[in-house]
Subunit: 248 residues, 2 copies
DNA sequence: CGCCCCATTGACTTAAGTCAATATGTGTGG
DNA sequence: CCACACATATTGACTTAAGTCAATGGGGCG
């Protein structure tokens, strides 16, 4: 397992940027005191592996800042990303001893880790945590299913457009900016990571990015900074159901 | 929405074939009494639609017997299966008013429905239910992620072999038969449903089934009855990690 | 400056899709 | 009981989207 920085990061739950969205979101102050006792922070640099599939895992964690990926691989090296972990997302499964997926830091990340045993015990007596985790897991399942539609049925161009709109939407929600017609954001993934996300090769990703640029759907400043002049156009290219209506 | 049979089916929880695996698995007898009050049964014939994506959904349910599918579609009709519902699987999401997916009965099915409002209220005060549902949802998420690897990175032949081994494994677990070298089972899906599951066309499914037959990996009795002379061989064709080791 | 990583582009191959004809099988009514 | 119709499945011929292999380009950092 990769070496991580273990310099003492300290952060009171009350000052935590993800407190309102993380697994602890519903906890009252008493419960937070209890969580403080079993938590510790770890940070990883961009590119580092947080944990390998199959490794013993004695903690569960929340991503505090940065981006990490969950990937699965076939023996011959083909790899598929199966999760994109953003701030407030949860890593690990209570009741499971070993990691099921590779977790890799895509940017520098900070994770709030809970020792697994005490966390599990606490979950058994704290419905707030189990309820919140259930909600988050159901959301992830919905995301996974939308992703399955993308992987199984969309063309390369649609896949790229879908990924770009997902990143744009998330970026808007983080920056509290309203979803405008024209949007600009950073793409936190390499072409290879995009390919692993979308079930494509990196060459195809590159070609389709160029094609979308040529067709005026996107503009590129450098490799990673994207401007979408017309979000509706992008959404159309993504091929999703027109009514971007959200299910409640 | 399709017409369903509402003839009065009645089944005490104590006699329920899925009681030990369903969302109510952890409930004590007192809790079961409460559940009895808010439950009712509905049955659907093979081919019927249980609910359309977007429809109001005033119940959640467990599949008691039979098989149903969850599908998602693009506007132009491309469809992708995103869930295969077997006995004891749960349908619907507490806290959500409308169905997110199309639910279709593949065989005749019986569902144990709970009125949504009272079920949600009960969930809030009954940790056993939320805990069990969390466990089931985490299992589904794992299955969805394995499926994503299949959709994104496997070849048509590997996809078919994977589906066959999943069905074989499930069949074995239902029949309590040990996973033997030689196995025989029914394939409860049409070629089209298989294609929707695997992100392929039905022609490709047909061709690959023929190829696996020609190569001696499977034998067919009629369209739907499959014999696998050597499960290890099939697993190999599925391309999964050799150690079929299960994560706990 | 030059190296390294990441990305782009081109030429060619191939797996899977499309369109279409044919086969198999099942249930219904004459 | 047969024959017809309709569903489902198979197979063939051809097309195409995406993959592969390989060369080239460009930006950032020591």
């Amino acid at each position: 397992m990769a070496q991580d920085d273990v310099y003492p990061v300290s952060l009171a739950c009350g000052d935590c940027p993800i407190q309102h969205r993380a697994v602890c979101a519903r906890c009252d102050s008493e419960e937070l005191v209890e969580l403080e006792k079993i938590k510790y922070y770890r940070s990883f640099e961009a590119g580092q592996t947080v944990i390998w599939a199959g490794d013993q895992m004695d903690f569960v964690a929340s991503v505090v800042s940065g981006i990490a990926t969950l990937t699965q691989t076939l023996e011959d090296g083909r790899t598929q990303m199966v999760g994109l972990l953003l701030p407030s997302d949860f890593v690990g499964r209570p009741g499971r001893a070993r990691a099921a997926y590779n977790v890799t830091a895509t940017t520098d990340i900070l994770m709030c880790c809970f020792r697994k045993k005490p966390f599990e015990e606490m979950m058994d007596r704290t419905p707030h945590i189990a309820q919140r985790l259930l909600q988050m897991t159901l959301d992830e399942l919905d995301a996974a299913r939308e992703w399955m539609l993308l992987l199984g049925r969309k063309t390369a161009r649609e896949k790229i457009a879908s990924l770009l709109s997902i990143v744009a939407r998330r970026d808007a929600s983080v920056n509290m900016s309203t979803a405008a017609a024209r949007m600009t954001f950073d793409l936190p993934l390499t072409r290879e990571a995009m390919a692993d996300y979308l079930g494509l090769t990196l060459e195809t990703v590159s070609r389709q990015m160029s094609a979308l640029k040529r067709d005026g759907v996107i503009e590129l400043q450098g490799k990673r900074h994207v401007t979408v002049p017309d979000m509706d156009r992008l959404l159309l290219e993504a091929g999703d159901d027109s009514d971007g209506g959200f299910l409640v």
